[in-house]
Amino acid sequence: MNEAIEAAIARHRDQPGPLLLVLHDIQQAMGYVPPAAVPRIAAALQLSRAEVHGVLSFYHYFRDQPPGDRTIRLCRAEACQAVNGDALARHAAQRLGIGFGETSADGRHTLEAVYCLGNCACGPSLLIGKELHGRVTPERFDELLDGAEPAP
């Protein structure tokens, strides 16, 4: 854990306004930003712990808990709502047995709501890891869930 944090700090500390860069690198390496990293980042970047925590908690993307093996980001915005996105969202939550913002008990899946993936002519859309899927019906969702390899 400390290695990833120290590497992220070393890589960015001399850049202007480095905090988001550091947080992104840590989350990229570890899947989340452990709360224990906050004091270390604060000291290294000459910020207060409150400032670091404030940034970490402001952005929906950053997480302070490890995610499941696969993170599913499902679009809840209007263009997807226009093509039965709400039904897909209900189906996804039911199928995974978790709500939005939660990770399944077996640690396999994390379900997150996002607002627009820029695929508005091909909705409903979702990201599995970094892979985008369009025109996802509940049936297609099950296929993706059963068939897809764990995303990097």
Partner: protein
């Protein structure tokens, strides 16, 4: 002889199976012993035809789509490498009416070129604008942009030339160019299409802006939800540096400009320009009180140009062809063209670049072909989650900033989302408040508190509890949000709420 086949690697095309299609074409070609070169282009934005496969023939590129992997053997059997006839064939791509009737100025290269190859870019008109800009004085570049009539395409529609002139006139040790690629409005994807399909145009536009105002450093703020754009941008930046389009000696001129991509982290508010600057500086994306404007005191306290992806991508062609060429398109105070994005429940969705003046009806009925569900169109939302809902009766409104504002529907970033008759507008009004509550940065009270009060009010109205009093309070709440919010998130949330109530009162249990 090698046949050249174009298969998009655009995120939207990939979301519909383009990778499997590309794999099937490569495999089938190998099995049949055919020599095929596959180019992974961006998308032309004809999303109902994606994955759209094109083949280069002596008579130009020929289109097939939508091509699933399972269709590939049949295409080979039909001789598609020579443009053979097939039920998925559409003939020459550029004669498909949906595309042929468009006026693609800023999106002329998307889906045409290999996105990160400077030679291909230059062969299709790229770099001509920058070469001309390098011969001009900064004030003359700014004058060219001012005379073109270009207004900011991110949503605020502020005259780009005037913004650039303000930055040019500042005395400061450093200045910055920032590109807002935090395209968060539902229903919009023009920025993504450009970043994935023609990123060098955005980069060239930023370099020209740097020459115009005297800035040597740029930042492109990209939303985290666009991993595909991020990959293409990385390649494009490397190619641009290798070709001397960025760096210490731009195209041998001795002028300097470099560019860094920084990532957002899932906050809609960071599409607001001062919030984006805060985020670029590594802080919470809380909006700043204006004045001072970013053009005077922006990134790291220095004069800063903040423009959207489409705005920067429009700049090179204006420099290359001249202000008059661009200005001749459009109407009234809305000059040039706008890449409109048609999405939601629509048969033929995608990117439609037309001069200002095209009507919403032409876009939704002629291009869109009505709803995907086959049911009647009941409502369209223009300009993202902070935009207004319009009924079919208002679809003859022409797309220009002033005409749309006159019917209470700001154009925003040009997204049009179509809904059929199953939509419940009181639910969408509630969603507008919910979204505002979710995405509020918390700096000002009307937005932070008012959005949650709005959700509660809508819940009571929808439950039929004291509807008349609730609606009166809703009006007061919208007034407060509009008058007293620091930025557009709180200030414009009343747009979807009040337009839904005005045009669809029956959904609010109101007897009309």
């Amino acid at each position: 002889m090698t046949a050249t086949v174009f298969i998009p690697r655009d995120a939207g095309a990939l979301s519909l199976g383009a990778e499997a299609t590309a794999g099937a074409i490569a495999r089938d070609a190998a099995v049949r012993g055919l020599d095929v070169a596959i180019v992974r282009n961006g998308s032309r934005g004809l999303y109902w035809l994606e994955p759209l496969v094109e083949v280069a023939t002596p008579a130009g590129r020929v289109a097939y789509g939508p091509v699933a992997a399972a269709d590939v053997p049949g295409l080979f059997d039909a001789g598609f490498l020579d443009g053979g006839r097939h039920p998925l064939g559409h003939g020459p791509t550029e004669r498909i009416p949906w595309l042929a009737s468009q006026q693609r100025l800023c999106c002329s290269r998307i889906g045409v070129i290999a996105p990160a190859e400077v030679a291909d870019y230059a062969a299709h008109g790229g770099l001509a604008g920058l070469r001309r800009a390098l011969t001009l004085a900064p004030a003359d570049i700014v004058r060219e942009i001012s005379e073109s009539g270009l207004r900011g395409r991110g949503g605020a529609a502020f005259p780009t030339g005037r913004k650039w002139r303000t930055v040019l006139e500042q005395e400061a040790p450093r200045k910055y160019i920032t590109c807002n690629a935090d395209e968060g409005d539902s229903g919009t994807f023009a920025d993504r299409l450009l970043l994935e399909g023609d990123p060098l145009a955005v980069i060239e536009g930023m370099v020209i802006a740097g020459l115009a105002v005297g800035a040597a450093q740029g930042y492109l703020y990209l939303r985290i939800e666009y991993p595909h754009a991020r990959r293409v941008l990385k390649e494009a930046l490397a190619a641009a540096r290798a070709a001397g389009l960025l760096g210490d000696d731009i195209l041998g001129s001795g002028r300097r400009f470099d560019l860094e991509v920084r990532l957002g982290a899932g906050a809609y508010i960071c599409g607001e320009e001062t919030s984006m600057l805060e985020s670029l500086e590594g802080r919470r994306g809380e909006v700043r009180v204006r004045p001072p404007l970013p053009a005077v005191r922006g990134l790291f306290g220095m004069p800063t140009v903040v423009n959207n992806v489409v705005t920067f991508a429009s700049v090179p062609a204006i420099l290359a062809q001249g202000a008059g060429w661009y200005r001749d398109y459009g109407r009234g105070e809305s000059r040039g063209t706008l890449p409109l994005q048609l999405g939601g429940n629509v048969r033929h969705g995608g990117l439609i670049e037309r001069a200002f003046g095209v009507t919403l009806r032409e876009l939704i009925e002629d291009y869109g072909g009505g709803t995907a569900s086959g049911r009647p169109v009941r409502a369209v939302q223009i300009g993202g989650p902070l935009g207004a809902w319009l009924p079919p009766a208002l679809l003859d409104t022409p797309v220009d900033y002033e005409a749309l504002a006159a019917v209470g529907a700001p154009l925003g970033h040009g997204g049009i989302v179509v809904f059929d008759d199953t939509v419940d507008l009181s639910r969408m009004a509630r969603f507008a408040f919910e979204f505002c509550a979710q995405e509020s940065c918390g700096k000002c009270t009307p937005c932070r508190i008012g959005s949650t009060r709005g959700v509660e009010l809508m819940d009571r109205i929808r439950a039929g509890q004291d509807v008349a009093a609730g609606l009166e309070r809703l009006g007061q709440l919208c007034d407060t949000l509009r008058q007293a919010s620091l930025c557009g998130l709180g200030g414009m949330t009343p747009n979807p709420v009040e337009s839904a109530l005005r045009h669809f009162p029956e959904d609010f249990r109101v007897r009309s």
